[in-house]
Structures are given as C-alpha cells and as structure tokens.
C-alpha cells in the first residue's frame, strides 16, 4: 500500500517534454547529479532506459540502483512513476 507524492503526481499529469531528470519521483539532487554524470541528463533519457528494459520495473530498479546508487524505495518510486506515465502517454 503506497500513496503517491506530489512530485509523482506532477510528473504523471503531463508529457515530460524536456524536464530534467530530477523531476522524476524518487530522484533528488544527489541522485540526479549521479545520473547526469552517467549521461542521463533528461527525464526522457531515463525513460529510454526504462523502455529498453521492456518496462520491467524490477530490472529498471536494479539498473537505477547500480547506476545512481539509489536505494530500493527511491528506485521503486521512480519505476512506478515511469510506469504510470507510460500508461497515460505512451
């Protein structure tokens, strides 16, 4: 049972366009910087990775934890955020 945060709701409510990676739910400044270092500077690039993994939340959380050092909670939140976004806009 989990309730969504305001950030999640804001992200899922509209097409992501050129939003930075920190706009994703669960990705704050620290994680965002680490992702930018790896080349994932925009939210759509992270979306690209999520889609490459065939929208598998489990694999995506694992990838995110490896790439940015996120903990399980943040990674799951990000995966859920992307999943819902895809449900609405993809």
């Amino acid at each position: 049972m989990s309730t969504t945060s305001q950030k999640h709701r804001d992200f899922v409510a509209e097409p992501m366009g050129d939003k930075p990676v920190t706009a994703l739910s669960g990705i704050g400044e620290v994680l965002g910087n680490k992702l930018v270092e790896k080349g994932f500077d925009k939210a759509f690039v992270v979306l690209g990775q999520y889609l490459l993994l065939r929208k598998d939340g489990e694999l995506f959380t694992e990838w995110l934890k490896d790439t940015s050092g996120a903990n399980t909670r943040n990674a799951t939140s990000c995966a859920q955020c992307l999943r819902e976004w895809c449900d609405s806009f993809l």
Binding site: A13, L52, D56
Partner: protein, 287 residues
C-alpha cells in the same frame, strides 16, 4: 568443470550476508566491513563450487554426489558449453538463454547487458546451493530451476532454501499455487516475493486531481454528487415526519406536565387576546 564468474566484491553487503547464511556459514557477531564478508564468501562458497559439494555429508556420500553431479555437469557441458557463464555469452546467446528461462529480454545493449547478465546469474545460482537441504538429488536441477524462475529470485536466501524444498516436494505434483498471485493475477512477481497493492487515493483529497486518477469512471463527479443528493432526498420525508412526531410529543409532555396547566394556557391565551385587544384599541385610538 563449470566456470562460474563469482565476483563477490560486486555484491552488496546484505546480499553477501544472506548468501553466507544460506550456505550455513556463521557470520561475525558484530557488523563487519564488507571485506570480511567477501573473504568468508570466497572461502566457503568457492569451496562449494569445487567438486566437494556439501560439508555436511560424509565422504562416501560425497563421492556419490560428486559422481552424479559431475555426470550431470558433463551432460550440461556437452549441450551448452557456455550456458553457465553469462559473461562469456554473446548478446544473442544471452538473450536466447534468458528466453529459455522464460524471461523476455529487451535489446542487449551496453547499458542493459550487465543487468541481464546478473539476472541470468541469479537464475543459474539456485542450481548449486540446494545441497544444503540434504536432498542430494542431482536430477532435480532443471525441473526446480524452471519452477524457481517464475517467482523471481528472492533476496532472502534462507527463504529460497525453504521455498526450494517446497518445490522439490511439489515437483511430482502440480506446481505450488500462490493464493496472493491468484487474487491479483496482474501483479508482476517481485524479487522479494512481496507485492504491495496500492490503495486507491481518496478522491479530491489534498488537492489530488480527480480527472487523472479515475479515468475508468463512467459518470463525472458532478453527476455523482447529484446522485448522492438524490439519495438523501428519499429519507428526507422520513426525517420531517419524525420531526413532527417529536414536536407533538414535546407539546403533549409539556401539556401533561402540570395539572394546573389549564390555567397557564388560559392565562397565555388571555394575554394574547388582551394583547390583540390593546393593539386593536390603540389602533382605533390613533386616528
């Protein structure tokens, strides 16, 4: 001889700990550095990768198991020499191997490769440490692997050991049915075996935008509110009736309260009539 790429330094600390627990290795009492766990892991678990499979079995049993295992391994090696080494596989082979385990993998690209390799490793791993249960039946490897992967690879190793024993018992019969999975068939199997169902957010509460949260509703919120109001109208007549009954009741109670109530009433009426008379008189007096 199979080659397992075991790099425990890449594992996370909780993973090392749970792996060690699954192999019945005593952990240090206090929290130690990761290096300690890595050493323990290498010491005990790389031993297990060698021919001697279980420390608990006696020597002659060990030999029997060895022979069986080496025979199985040889067979496996003949079929697929690179099957047990995810890192040595090409992209296509990796994808094909994952597909054999029922995992539909996406494109194997630079960023996704390590993830899929690890997944394959996790799928292959439960084949080894099963000997701890003491079953020693080497022929059940392939069957239990197929059963295992459906539930994902759990992170808690002790859980996998007990679950694995379940699978072995249920192997001859039907596969184990999970009630929770039956109830919610659409949820994806997670690594920990725990699925959380999301509670439906309260409509309109805390500024939640209603239109995006409930796209499956046929009626708009306005019609719903109207329906709610209409529902209230039905018992409204009942409410009015009850109100009237209560009013009469109180009136009667008041009337019955004093036996000399006649007089106050009469006095009241007199006052009223007097009041009206004086008014009338005053009205008449004015012009």
């Amino acid at each position: 001889m199979p080659v397992f790429v075991d790099d425990p330094a890449q594992f996370s600390k909780p993973r090392l700990k749970s792996d060690l627990l699954a192999h019945n290795v005593t952990l240090p009492v206090a929290e130690s550095k990761k290096q300690v766990y890595v050493k323990l892991y290498l010491k005990h678990i790389s031993q297990k990768n060698a021919p001697d499979f279980s420390n608990d079995e006696e020597d002659y049993q060990q030999e029997v198991v060895e022979v069986q295992d080496s025979q199985d391994r040889e067979e496996e090696n003949k079929e697929d020499p690179e099957m047990t080494d995810p890192c040595g596989l090409t992209d296509d082979e990796l994808k094909a191997t994952l597909f054999k385990y029922g995992v539909e993998a996406g494109p194997i690209v630079a960023t996704t490769r390590s993830i899929y390799e690890r997944k394959l490793q996790r799928l292959l791993e439960p084949a080894q440490p099963r000997q701890n249960g003491g079953t020693g039946d080497a022929n059940q490897y392939s069957d239990s692997e197929e059963e295992e992967e459906e539930w994902g690879s759990e992170q808690g190793r002790p859980e996998t050991v007990s679950l694995v024993e379940e699978y072995q018992h249920a192997n001859e019969q039907e596969p184990v049915t999970d009630v929770l999975m039956e109830m919610f068939p659409e949820t994806e199997p997670t690594r920990t075996g725990i699925t959380a169902t999301r509670r439906r957010p309260i409509k309109g509460a805390a500024g939640r935008p209603v239109q995006f949260k409930y796209p499956d509703l046929l009626a708009s919120p306005m019609t719903l509110q109207r329906q709610a109001l209409e529902r209230r109208l039905v018992p409204l007549s009942v409410q009015i009736l009850v109100f009237l009954i209560l009013t009469c009741l109180f009136y009667l109670i008041y009337a019955a309260m004093e036996h000399s109530s006649y007089h106050p009433f009469v006095a009241l009426l007199d006052n009223l009539s007097m009041g009206t008379e004086t008014e009338g008189l005053s009205l008449q007096a004015d012009p």
